[in-house]
């Protein structure tokens, strides 16, 4: 809770309680929204507050959640990775192909390595060509997606080896393995961002990259590593996805990068860079999953769900903007 103390101390100077409330809302609004939805759904449907349903909510959050955690670092550093969906499909398909040829473990390892490398390559391209990451990863995403299609010949890759599904379907103490992986990934990205020198550099280059450079921060290196991380996260999410259903396909996971970006923003990370948190993103991911789950168990048309989700994103961005202007 030292963050609360920080926010209060930061605002004591300005002396405005309105600003203080606004800041708290910005920092913790996501938790409040999550609790409200949680309570409402508990009352509306007896099917909601069951261990099985809650377990499902978390389990279904894993794929987009893993990517969103890494995407948080990218957005804080002032970058977007629109190629994450393509890397997700590429790595998943690659793991499936290698596994179908009898090397399950090797397939997963190579898929992760490929995702990480493709991410690093994104970073190198962006730093080297000095193009905005938004456009650069849009382009590399198309290329990677194309490579995935070429690699699979556009076909579904079915893996019959039972070892292949262990990661996606296995469980321990009734909790699915993907949830453990998700939890470990949250912890890793959280610590990386908030406790390490690297994380501080990520905030710094997003806040003011020129000032960071003039403070001796290796801006290009940090950016390349951030893209390596989002690439790795996409590959991790990709292998979990193919392992769950024991098959891979080059057009899986379309728009997953945009879903991840939306959840990062809902979680309070500023699209202008320099501010944000992994825990906020985790709540953003869970909140959106909660909304989807609510529409499901209340039997409301999923068409409304899209409208509602879009509205939530707009609201989050608007709030961010208002808070920004207040500070000027």
């Amino acid at each position: 809770m030292s963050r609360v103390k920080d926010s209060i101390e930061k605002l004591k100077g300005s002396g405005s309680w309105l600003a203080l409330m606004g800041n708290l809302l910005k920092n913790y609004g996501i938790i409040i929204a999550f609790i409200i939805f949680f309570v409402i759904l508990s009352f509306l449907s007896p099917a909601f507050l069951t261990l099985r349903n809650l377990h499902n909510i978390v389990d279904q959050s894993v794929g987009v959640g893993i990517i969103a955690c890494a995407m948080t670092l990218a957005i804080i550093s002032g970058n977007f990775d629109l190629s994450a969906g393509a890397i997700y499909a590429f790595s998943g398909s690659l793991a499936a192909i290698i596994a179908a040829n009898g090397h399950v473990g090797l397939g997963f390892a190579i898929a992760l390595l490929a995702g990480f490398s493709l991410g690093l390559l994104n970073g190198v391209i962006i730093s080297g060509l000095r193009v905005h990451s938004f456009i650069a990863t849009l382009a590399t995403g198309l290329i990677i997606q194309g490579l995935a299609l070429l690699m699979t010949n556009g076909r579904l890759i079915i893996v019959k080896n039972p070892e292949f599904v262990v990661i996606g379907q296995g469980s321990f103490l009734g909790i699915k393995y993907p949830i453990f992986i998700f939890a470990a990934w949250i912890a890793f990205t959280w610590i990386l961002l908030s406790k390490t020198r690297f994380g501080r550099a990520v905030y710094a280059i997003g806040g003011n990259s020129e000032a960071a450079r003039l403070s001796g921060i290796r801006v290009d290196w940090v950016r390349i590593m951030v893209f390596g991380l989002t690439g790795l996260s996409a590959a991790l999410a990709g292998i979990i996805a193919v392992s769950r259903i024991s098959q891979g396909q080059a057009d899986m996971g379309s728009m997953i990068e945009l879903q991840a970006i939306a959840r990062v923003v809902i979680g309070g990370t500023s699209i202008m860079g320099g501010e944000g948190s992994v825990w906020g993103t985790v709540f953003g991911v869970l909140l959106m999953r909660l909304i989807g789950n609510g529409f499901n168990i209340l039997n409301i048309s999923p068409f409304y769900q899209r409208v509602f989700e879009g509205a939530v994103i707009l609201f989050a961005v608007a709030l961010d903007n208002i808070m920004r202007q207040r500070r000027r």
Binding site: E9, G13, K195, R200, A201, Y203, A211, L214
Partner: protein, 507 residues
């Protein structure tokens, strides 16, 4: 008599945040004359020009046009009264043609369609009247800067402007283009347009203007016909009688003190060349020059902030390779950059996080930051430098300019550097904080650092430096030591006001 004054200002005050930019300015501009505003950087001359052109609103005081009191809420309001401004930077639509730019917003139209033939006719009338001819149908971006200035003037005349404020019009021009601009200004006068000419090139002002107003620290020092003025008299008025107010007693370094920083033949294409100097332990060297003389670029080059630098940098007689700021930080060189907001601070960071950013390895265990230790160390440092409040958690964006500047000093003193480069260390801070910063710079030298100081404020350079290097057009043109360190000599060197100085200032 009433008609003679086109614009009259009465008791104009203007503040920006805590800074008093203009204090009680009263001034009358005679119709059909060229009236120059001169002063050091920060004296308020540009602000005054912008108030006349409606860019800024005065906090108090009155503006009269033709004896009527007016209120300008925007440049558009000023335009209605026939007052336009031509800024240092060209404000045209680059991809559109000359004629389109000249008549932008005042085109002849019928049913909302621009009537090209009528515009052509108007353009011809306009060029005949002003004697300025630029081919109407080529895009503005293909013109050189001086010709783009002509287009701006044509536009102003087309809008029936009676008074044009020109803010440092020659700052971006080559010497040849400067001459074109002079004839342009004289041409405007010939057709009866009044010109307010903001400049810090004294020779330029003396040859061009009819009347000159000198400003210093936001106050009007004098207004007089140029006939009775010389570069010397203007420099004196710009600087005023007072020097070294609030400056600590200088402690000169021992003559045999070791040379800490040695720069040999440093050059960067188009910015500076043949820069050679040394700074000894405990010595403060001032780098004086106008904005654009290359002084900031030299600082950045030593710090590794720019690419394409040639030459040698030695620290304590050992050659060092500095290609990035990271190399410089490792070598023990600190740079307090020119712009606190753009290059210095990360505004959404706390004070403490700003301070430790270059030195994270000192407060970390492997990759992990030891937050408690970071907090303690920065808290001590902020108290030592008298940041108020000395709270590392406070957001730097909410602090005053003086406190922000002290945080930047803390940032570079967290780990003692050997060379401390301060580029405009007191820009935008109040008088109290200025004094504290002077003490601080003095103390850094006392502790044995080699200090390189850049400032547009001449009294600062004089009050703090043990030795001054004057820069003009990318070169060190003169060195002033203890024995010949006087304001007039330095000003003359950087303004090229001495005879046989520079081609730019002939006639």
């Amino acid at each position: 008599m009433k008609n003679q004054w086109i614009v009259k200002l009465q008791s104009i005050d203007k503040r920006f945040g805590g800074i008093e930019a203009l204090k009680n300015i009263s001034l009358a501009i005679q119709e059909g004359t060229i009236h120059a505003l001169v002063g050091e950087n920060g004296a308020g001359k540009s602000t005054l020009g912008k108030i006349i052109a409606g860019v800024h609103r005065p906090d108090s005081g009155q503006i009269q046009v033709d004896g009527r009191a007016v209120v300008f809420n925007s440049p558009r309001d000023a335009l209605v009264e026939g007052i336009a401004m031509i800024s240092q930077e060209v404000a045209l639509v680059p991809k559109r043609t000359v004629i389109e730019n000249v008549f932008l917003g005042i085109e002849n139209t019928r049913y909302k369609i621009v009537q090209k033939n009528k515009l052509q006719k108007r353009y011809k009338e306009l060029t005949d009247r002003t004697g300025l001819f630029i081919p109407p149908d080529i895009p503005v971006s293909s013109l050189r800067i001086a010709d783009q200035k002509k287009v701006e003037v044509l536009r102003a005349v087309a809008q029936n402007t009676r008074l044009i404020v020109m803010d440092e019009p020659t700052a971006a021009l080559s010497s040849e283009e400067t001459k074109i601009l002079y004839s342009l200004v004289e041409g405007l006068k010939a057709i009866g347009t009044t010109v307010i000419y903001v400049s810090h090139f004294l020779e330029e002002v003396l040859s061009l203007a009819d009347t000159v107003t000198v400003l210093r620290n936001g106050e009007l020092i004098k207004t007089s016909p140029v006939a009775g003025e010389t570069p010397d008299s203007l420099v004196k008025a710009m600087l005023g009688g007072f020097v070294s107010l609030g400056f600590p007693e200088k402690i000169y370094p021992k003559p045999d003190a070791p040379v800490v920083l040695s720069v040999e033949n440093l050059a960067r294409k188009r910015f500076f060349e043949e820069i050679t100097f040394q700074i000894r332990e405990g010595e403060i060297v001032g780098l004086a020059g106008l904005a654009g003389s290359g002084r900031s670029e030299v600082c950045r080059a030593i710090f590794g902030a720019d690419q394409g630098i040639t030459g040698t940098i030695k620290l304590l007689d050992k050659k060092v390779e500095i290609h990035t700021p990271r190399d410089a930080v490792k070598a023990g060189i600190a740079l307090l950059p020119e712009s606190r907001k753009l290059q210095g601070l990360i505004m959404n960071f706390s004070a403490g996080h700003n301070v430790t950013l270059p030195h994270l390895s000192k407060v970390a265990f492997g990759p992990l930051i030891r937050a408690q230790e970071e907090y303690q160390l920065t808290k001590e440092l902020l108290s030592k430098l008298d940041v108020r409040p000395p709270n590392p958690r406070i957001n730097v964006g909410s602090l005053s300019g003086g406190n922000q500047q002290k945080i930047l000093f803390s940032k570079w003193l967290f780990q003692r550097p050997n060379v401390f480069i301060a580029d405009e260390p007191t820009a935008g801070v109040d008088v109290g904080a200025k004094r504290a910063i002077y003490q601080l710079i003095h103390r850094l030298a006392e502790e044995g650092m080699a200090v390189l100081l850049v400032s547009s404020d001449m009294s600062e350079i004089l009050g703090l430096s043990h030795r001054v290097l004057a820069m003009r057009k990318g070169r060190i043109v003169m060195e002033f030591t203890q024995s010949n360190l006087t304001e007039n000599k330095i000003m003359r060197a950087i303004f090229a006001a001495d005879r046989g100085g520079e081609e730019k200032c002939q006639e």
